[in-house]
Amino acid sequence: MNPLAVLGATSLGVLRGFGHAAFFFVDLLRALPASLRRFGLVAAQIHAIGNRSLVIIVASGTAVGFVLALQMYYALVTYGAAESLGLIVNLALVRELGPVVTALLFAGRAGTSLTAEIGLMKAGEQLSAMEMMAIDPKSRVLAPRFLAGVISMPILAVLFSAVGILGAYVVAVMLIGVDEGNFWSIMQSKVDVWRDVGNGVVKSFVFGIICTAVALYQGYETEATPEGVAYATTRTVVIASLGVLMMDFVLTALMFSTP
């Protein structure tokens, strides 16, 4: 084959992949209203995706808060600005680390299990069996999981930030002895509810869509073999993480470009 044809074939393949994913996403969105009517399915999935991720999110949030507070203290105490530690930890968590780290953990903890579950359903031909019974697997299996992921992600991100700030409080105020009043009041004067907290929630909402949609797509389109499921699970983590990081840059540039 000549090189030109190879280039053309690869580009077409890539575009076809994107188109396929886009149609899948549109189908998923179209199936959402039906799953809203049967909210019990969504609740069960929120339990599986959200509640079960709570421990790892809270533990990581606390750890990140501890470490950020310690490192920032060493850096800031040189300039006599140890009190603004709370502010820095707060802004870092609420704007960036909360949504991003939660999304990365979420892709690893919940995304992989979604991909594996749906991949095995497909490998065991359960999805085909559903179609045989005139049940749309997209609205019965995929849509509730998508909705649950999109609902859980912002909640987890908010908890991550809140727990991280409390962790910073424990290290800074209780262990190091930074003044408690200044710790909170500097935060309250500099952190804006809509600009910082609100945009953080918007970010985590977008990341929730990315992580869950990627995980479901990889599971749904997996090759029906053990290797295929393993490969799809790996790809979920890689694609979702890279997508989240890229999207984070775009969103940050849009949200915080004006001072």
């Binding site: 609740a43 909640i155 908010v158």
Partner: protein, 168 residues
């Protein structure tokens, strides 16, 4: 696990999320400290606003009484027009003066209000007449350098001394 207990756990999860959001907005952000609803607008014109930004605090006697809502340039006088939202419960006399001050040496800039002695108070939309511009560090340094140069010049002009050396 029964359906009821799953629903309870999910409810608990969502409740935790709400508590987290309340904590972030009330304790760790500015929702509780200052709400923009109950304010009235005052204006002040400055020759130079320095590094003042929108949302900077307005303080009187060091107490935050409002925030800068917008900053524009008057096209006729080329002055900076600073609009401030002041807490509705506080009234200031008509001869109040406004200054742009800096918190600490290199800190953020804010508007300081010094109340005068007039019996009448400023109403919403009024303009504060007496203002003092921001101190710009470069101008200060320029003045300092100029005054040193003038001193050096007067020393050089005196008979003898080092001034004649440089002329060679």
């Amino acid at each position: 696990m029964g359906k009821k207990s799953i629903e309870t756990l999910v409810g608990l999860f969502v409740l935790l999320g709400m508590l987290g959001l309340v904590f972030l907005s009330l304790k760790a952000a500015n929702l509780a400290t200052f709400s923009s609803g109950d304010t009235y607008a005052l204006q002040a014109r400055f020759d130079n606003i320095g590094g003042l930004k929108a949302r900077a605090p307005v303080r009187s006697a060091g107490v935050t009484v409002g925030r800068v809502t917008s900053i524009t340039l008057d096209a006729q006088t080329y002055q900076g027009v600073v609009t401030m939202g002041i807490d509705r419960n506080l009234q200031f006399p008509r001869d109040t003066s406004a200054k742009i001050l800096t918190a600490g040496l290199l800190g953020d800039q804010y508007v300081g209000l010094e109340p005068g002695a007039d019996d009448k108070s400023l109403a919403a939309g009024d303009t504060i007449k007496q203002t003092q511009s921001a101190v710009v560090l470069e101008n200060l340094i320029g003045q300092f350098v100029n005054s040193r140069a003038a001193e050096a010049g007067s020393v050089a002009a005196a008979p003898g001394g080092s001034g004649s050396k440089s002329k060679k």
